[in-house]
C-alpha cells in the first residue's frame, strides 16, 4: 500500500513558484563572542499548490541563506520555516523577520553576497518523502555593520 501510494506520488509533476524580497536589514553587528549576526525582514510569496496530492499530509517549507566564505565552501542557515497543512494554504504571501538567528561561523558577512533558497519537504500520509528547492540569487549584505 505504501508502494502504491508512492508510485502515484511519482506521477505528479509539480510546478511551484516563489519570490523573496528583502524589505529591510534591521541590524547587522558583531556579537560579543565574535561572530557576525544580521536581522532582516523578508517578503515571501509562493504558490506551492501543485505539490499536493491525495497522499500529502503536509508540506514543510523553509527559507535558508546560502553563501560561501574563505574557510567554508558552503554555509546554509535556516532563517524561517512553516508547515503548510493543506493545498488551500499553499498559495500565500507573508512578511516576516528571520525566525532563527542568522549568525555566521566567523566574521565574514560584511558585503557578503548570498542566495535565498525556498526548500520544501513533502511529507506523505504514507510512503516516500519528496524534497526540492528554488534558488534565488542576487542578495547582499551591507559593507558595514549597522
Amino acid at each position: 500500500m505504501c508502494v502504491i501510494a508512492s508510485l502515484s506520488d511519482n506521477l505528479n509533476i509539480p510546478s511551484p513558484s516563489a519570490e523573496i524580497q528583502i524589505m529591510n536589514i534591521n541590524w547587522f553587528q558583531k556579537q560579543p563572542k565574535g561572530s557576525d549576526e544580521v536581522s532582516l525582514t523578508m517578503n515571501i510569496s509562493a504558490d506551492l499548490q501543485s505539490l499536493f496530492t491525495w497522499n500529502t499530509k503536509q508540506v514543510f517549507i523553509f527559507v535558508a541563506a546560502e553563501y560561501e566564505t574563505r574557510k567554508n565552501s558552503l554555509n546554509q542557515v535556516s532563517l524561517w520555516d512553516a508547515i503548510i497543512p493543506a493545498k488551500e494554504r499553499a498559495k500565500f504571501w507573508i512578511r516576516s523577520s528571520n525566525k532563527y538567528r542568522f549568525v555566521d561561523h566567523g566574521k565574514n558577512l560584511r558585503g557578503k553576497e548570498f542566495n535565498l533558497t525556498l526548500h520544501w519537504h513533502v511529507m506523505p500520509k504514507t510512503g516516500k518523502m519528496f524534497a526540492d528547492k528554488i534558488v534565488m540569487s542576487g542578495y547582499s549584505l551591507p559593507e558595514e555593520y549597522i
Binding site: 503536509q58 514543510f60 523553509f62 497543512p85 526548500h119 519537504h121 516516500k128
Partner: protein, 152 residues
C-alpha cells in the same frame, strides 16, 4: 523458518539502505505534526553531503537516537567536514543544548541515516511491548506456538 527469513530480510535491508538501523520507530512528539509517536521511519544513508532540510537520525553517544531536521550546515572547503545544527519541527529551540560534544555542533559521523519514507502507526506495537512487557511475552508465546504447530 519464519524467524530466519525475517532475519535475512532485516540484514538485506541493512545492506540496501546502507544504514545500521534501516528502520526506526518515532518515540517523541518533537517532529509533529509530520511524524507522530508510533510512526515508523525508513532510513537511507550514502556518502552524499548532509544538507539543510534533510531529516536525519543521529546518535552522539546517547541512550536513544534522535530524529530531527538539519537547519544549519557549515561545510569546510578543504576537508569537506561539516558542522551541523538540528532542530525538531515542533520544538521552539534548536538542539544545541542536547549535543553531548562540548563543540556545540553535530558532526557528520554521528548521523546514522536520512529519513526517506514512513509508515504511520505501525511502530506502536514496539512501544506497547516496551511499556507493557506482558504483551511482548504473550506475542512471543504465540509466535513460539505457531512455530511448534507449523513444524507438525
Amino acid at each position: 523458518m519464519v524467524i530466519s527469513s525475517a532475519l535475512i530480510i532485516w540484514k538485506g535491508l541493512i545492506c540496501i539502505t546502507g544504514s545500521e538501523s534501516p528502520v526506526v520507530v518515532v518515540l517523541s512528539g518533537s517532529m509533529e505534526p509530520g511524524f507522530k509517536r508510533g510512526d515508523i521511519l525508513f532510513l537511507y544513508m550514502n556518502r552524499d553531503p548532509i544538507r539543510a532540510g534533510q531529516i536525519v537520525v543521529f546518535n552522539d553517544g546517547r541512550d536513544v537516537p534522535i530524529v530531527h531536521r538539519v537547519i544549519e550546515v557549515h561545510e569546510q572547503r578543504d576537508n569537506k567536514e561539516a558542522d551541523i545544527l538540528t532542530k525538531g519541527d515542533a520544538n521552539l529551540y534548536d538542539d544545541r543544548m542536547l549535543y553531548t560534544s562540548s563543540n556545540r555542533w553535530l558532526q557528520q559521523k554521528y548521523i546514522m541515516g536520512r529519513a526517506v519514507g514512513f509508515l504511520p502507526y505501525v511502530g506502536w506495537l514496539t512501544i506497547i511491548m516496551t511499556d507493557k512487557p506482558i504483551i511482548k511475552y504473550i506475542l512471543l508465546g504465540a509466535l513460539g506456538l505457531l512455530v511448534i504447530i507449523s513444524k507438525e
